[in-house]
Symmetry: C2
Subunit: 477 residues, 2 copies
C-alpha cells in the first residue's frame, strides 16, 4: 500500500490483491522466501472453513487422523508418475539430532505415499473397506513464484484419502466429495464454481482421473478451487494395498484423494473484494456485524453506549458474531477500518437515533444505508445477512457469466485472451499436443471438461479435429 491507500483494481490488479490482504490484516510474509504468516483475522476465516467443511466430511462418514510430516525419499519414488510430478518442488531434511541422516527425508508435498504405507497394514479384508480418512495438515511445496494464500512454500490444507473395494465405489465417493466441495464453495464462500474433469495433462501426478472446481476471479482468470482424484491402481500395487475379498480372492484396493487449501481464502478475496478492501460473505466472515456508536459529549456517550451495549447483547444472543467499537476515535477512521476488513454489516448509532428508536445499518458489499427500527433488530440483521450471502454469490455468478464465451473460431479465441480474458468454452480434439500449442499461443489452459453440459458435436478450436463436447479454457492462477 502506498500512503495507506489500496491500489485500485483498474490500476494494478495484482497489487490490489496484496493491498487488500495488507489492509484487512490477513497475512504477512515469513522470514523464509515464499513462507506465509497467517494473521489472526486471516486465520479466523480458515477456522470457519475448517469447521464447516469438517462437518460435511463427517456427515459422509469421514474420520480425521494424522500422519507424519516426513517420510523416506524412497517412498516418493515407488510410483513413477507421482515422483515426476512432485520431485521438483520437494524440500528435504538431511540432518537431524546433530547427525547426517542415512536416508534423506521428504517433507510431505502430499501424503498418498506415507498414508498408503499405513493402509497396507490396516487393510486386511473387505470388512475394512471403505476406509475414509482425512487430515488437516501443513504441506510443503518449494515454489519459485509465490503469492500470499495462492501459492506459498508451506500451506495449510485438508487431504482426504480413501480406500475402496471396487472402482465403482471409489468413483462414487470421488463424486460425493466433489459435490461437497462445490456446495461448500457456492453456499458458504459464495464463489460459483464449474465442476468438471481435468484433461490428461492437467490431472494429478499418479491419478487416473481428476475432478476439479474452477472459480473465476474478477480479472477473468481461473482459480482451481479444490480437486478430487481417483488414483491409479499402480499406487496400490507399489504400496501393496491388498485385501481379501468376499469371494476369497486377493485384490488391490481402489483409492481416492482430495484436498482444498488456504488458497480458498485467496479465492474469496479475489472473487468479492472491491477497491475499498475486503468483502466477505457473511457465512464465512469471522466478524459479521460491527456496532459503531457516535457521540459529541460525555452525556451523549453514556446514553448511546448503553443502547449500543443492549444491541450488542441482543445480537450475541441471536448467534450473530458482533463487535462493539467504542474506541474514542472519530467515526471516519472507525468506519474505514471495518470497511477495509470486510465486516459485512455496520450499525451506526448516534444521539438522534436514540430519539427515533432506530439505527443506521450499512451493507459492506453495496454500501446501501438503511434506517432500521430498533424493535426486532436482530431478526432484521439476520435477514440482511442472508440476503447479502445470496446477493454476493449472484454478483459473482453474473460477473462470471459476463466473461464466459462460447467460441468457435480461433481468431475470436485468441482475441479474448489477448484482451480481458475469461472462460472460453470451445471444442478440443482431445490431443495433448493441441492443448500444449493452445497454451503456448494464448497462455490459456484447459481448466476442465464440465460435468453439467450437453454433448455437442464440433471441431477443435486449433486443429479442426472432431470433438463431442466443449471444454473450458482460461488463464489461471
Amino acid at each position: 500500500m502506498k500512503d495507506n491507500k489500496i491500489t485500485t483494481r483498474a490500476e494494478d490488479y495484482s497489487q490490489w490483491y496484496l493491498d487488500v490482504i495488507e489492509a484487512a490484516d490477513l497475512a504477512d510474509y515469513g522470514p523464509v522466501k515464499g513462507t506465509m504468516v497467517i494473521k489472526p483475522t486471516g486465520y479466523a476465516i480458515w477456522e470457519n472453513i475448517q469447521k464447516n467443511l469438517d462437518k460435511m466430511f463427517k456427515k459422509v462418514g469421514v474420520q480425521n487422523a494424522y500422519f507424519p510430516l516426513f517420510f523416506p525419499e524412497s517412498f516418493l519414488k515407488r510410483e513413477a508418475e507421482h515422483v515426476e510430478g512432485f520431485a521438483p518442488e520437494v524440500a528435504m531434511v538431511t540432518h537431524a539430532g546433530g547427525k547426517k541422516l542415512e536416508e534423506p527425508l521428504v517433507l510431505r508435498p502430499t501424503s498418498e505415499t506415507v498414508i498408503y504405507n499405513s493402509y497396507s497394514k490396516w487393510i486386511q479384508s473387505y470388512r475394512d473397506l471403505p476406509l475414509l480418512i482425512n487430515q488437516w495438515a501443513n504441506v510443503v511445496r518449494w515454489e519459485m513464484r509465490t503469492r500470499l494464500f495462492l501459492r506459498t512454500s508451506e500451506f495449510l490444507w485438508q487431504e482426504g484419502h480413501t480406500a475402496h473395494a471396487t472402482r465403482e465405489d471409489a468413483e462414487n465417493f470421488q463424486k460425493k466429495i466433489s459435490d461437497i466441495y462445490k456446495s461448500f464453495a457456492e453456499d458458504y464462500l459464495a464463489v460459483p464454481v464449474i465442476a468438471g474433469r481435468k484433461s490428461e495433462s492437467e490431472k494429478f501426478a499418479g491419478a487416473q482421473k481428476t475432478y476439479t472446481m474452477e472459480a473465476m476471479m474478477q480479472d477473468g482468470k481461473a482459480l482451481q478451487y479444490g480437486t478430487t482424484h481417483l488414483l491409479d491402481q499402480k499406487f496400490s500395487e507399489s504400496f501393496d494395498m491388498k485385501f481379501l475379498d468376499q469371494d476369497g480372492s486377493e485384490k488391490y484396493v481402489w483409492s481416492t484423494s482430495w484436498g482444498v487449501s488456504t488458497r480458498l481464502i485467496g479465492g474469496i478475496i479475489m472473487a468479492h473484494s472491491d477497491d475499498k478492501g475486503l468483502v466477505l460473505p457473511p457465512k464465512i466472515a469471522p466478524l459479521q456485524v460491527v456496532i459503531v456508536p457516535l457521540w459529541n459529549n460525555d452525556e451523549e456517550k453514556t446514553a448511546v453506549l448503553a443502547e449500543a451495549n443492549r444491541i450488542f447483547d441482543e445480537l450475541c444472543g441471536a448467534d450473530i458474531s458482533v463487535k462493539l467499537d467504542d474506541r474514542d476515535l472519530r467515526p471516519g477512521p472507525r468506519f474505514f477500518e471495518w470497511e477495509k476488513k470486510g465486516v459485512p454489516i455496520r450499525i451506526e448509532i448516534g444521539p438522534r437515533d436514540l430519539g427515533n428508536s432506530s439505527v443506521v445499518v450499512v451493507r459492506r458489499d453495496t454500501g446501501e444505508k438503511e434506517n432500521v427500527p430498533m424493535v426486532e433488530l436482530s431478526g432484521i440483521i439476520e435477514k440482511k445477512l442472508e440476503t447479502m450471502q445470496k446477493e454476493i454469490f449472484e454478483r459473482a455468478l453474473k460477473s462470471r457469466e459476463e466473461k464466459t464465451y462460447s467460441v468457435d473460431s480461433w481468431e475470436e479465441f485468441e482475441k479474448i485472451f489477448q484482451g480481458d480474458g475469461g472462460f472460453v468454452k470451445a471444442h478440443w480434439c482431445g490431443d495433448a499436443k493441441c492443448e500444449a500449442e493452445i497454451a503456448e499461443k494464448t497462455k490459456a489452459t484447459i481448466r476442465c471438461i464440465p460435468f453439467d453440459q450437453e454433448k455437442e458435436k464440433g471441431k477443435c478450436i486449433l486443429c479442426g479435429g472432431e470433438s463431442s463436447e466443449r471444454v473450458v479454457f482460461a488463464k489461471s492462477y
Copy 2:
C-alpha cells in the same frame, strides 16, 4: 500384544501402555523412526482436547494464527540459552526445489524465534499490547528414545505466545494460562495435577520462570502435563521487540509462551486405564455410550433392534455421543471390543429386557452393572456419565495421594525411589549441585515447587542446608 491379550500392569508396565494403545487402536508408528501415526480413534480424543481448550483460550482473549514451519538456522542462535536447549534435537532442511539452500532451515522445535520476528514488526506502541496469540501446529524434536504420544520426533501441540507492556502483566497472564491448564486437566481429562514453578535447571531454554503442571501416572512416575514460561527479556532484545510506551519512552516487551501437546493423550491413558484396556473420562471420550443389542433369532432381532434404535435416537437427542453396535457377532466379542476401546458406558438390551422395559447399563471404569428402567433413560445416562467423570478423577487423586510422601531423611528418600516410587515432598537448599546429585543417585528430579503449600523451614534432604519450602521429587517420563 501377545495372542491378542493386553500385558498386565504388574507384568510389564511399559508394555501394558503400548498394548492399551494397540488394543484401543489409538496410534501406530510411522515409517521414520520415532514418528507417529495418530489413528482416527486417537485423533478424535485430540479433537476433543482442541475444541475445549480452544474455547478456554478464546474466553481470555487469545486469537489463533499460523506461523511458518521453517525458519533460518540463525534465528535459533540469536538467543544463547535457547539455542543451547534446542540445537541437539533440531531437524534441518538443507535442500529444496532440487537445489542446496544458501542457509539451512530449522524445522520448528518451538516457535518463539519465528513468531518474535513477526511481533517485532507488528508491535509499535502500547496500544498494540497485550498481543495474545496461539497456534495449533506440529513441531519437530529429534528424540533418541521415543514412545507413542509421550515422546515422538514430530508431535502436535498448541503454542501460545503473548507480548505485554509490563513484567507484571506478563506474569499475570502466565498464571492465568497455568490456571486454565490445571482446570482443563482436572475437569476434562480427570487427571489431578500439581501446579508449581520449575527449578532453574528444569526450566525452559530461555525462560526466566517456568510454571508446570505435574501429573502422576499409575506407576508413580510424573508426567509433565503442560508448561507456561515467562521469557527472559534477552529474547525481546535479540528480536528487537520494542514499543513506544505511554510515557513516550521506548521499552522492550515482556513475553510469555505456553503449550500442551498430544502427550496429554499419553497421560490420560496411563492415569486411568486398566488391564482390560483403555479407560476414558466421559467428557473427553469421543464415544460415550455403546448400545449392544442381543438376540437369539430373527424375530427377537427385529424387536430388540427397534427398541435399540429408539434408545439410540433418544441419546443422540440428549447430545450424548453414542453408537449402536448391531453387528451379527456374539455378545462377548462385542463387549470386549468396546471395553478395550474405553467407551465409558455399555447398554445391553435383550429380549427379556423388552418385557421388563429396562436395560442393563455397565460402567467401563468399575464394571458395575445396573438394571435401569427405560423411562427417562437419557437422564439417567447423563447423570451416570457425570458421576463417572467425578469418580475417575477422585480415583486418580486417591492413587496419587497414596503415593505421595513427605520425607525428611535421606535413607527414606532413597528407599522410596529404589522401590515403587511416587511423589516425594522434601526440602531442598536451592543449589543446582544438590539437585543434580540427587538425580544421579536416585533418578528423581525436581518436578516443581508447588504453588499451593505453606512455607515451612527445613533442611535440604541431601546436604542439610537451609530451606523454606518443600519441593516435589519424582522419576518422570
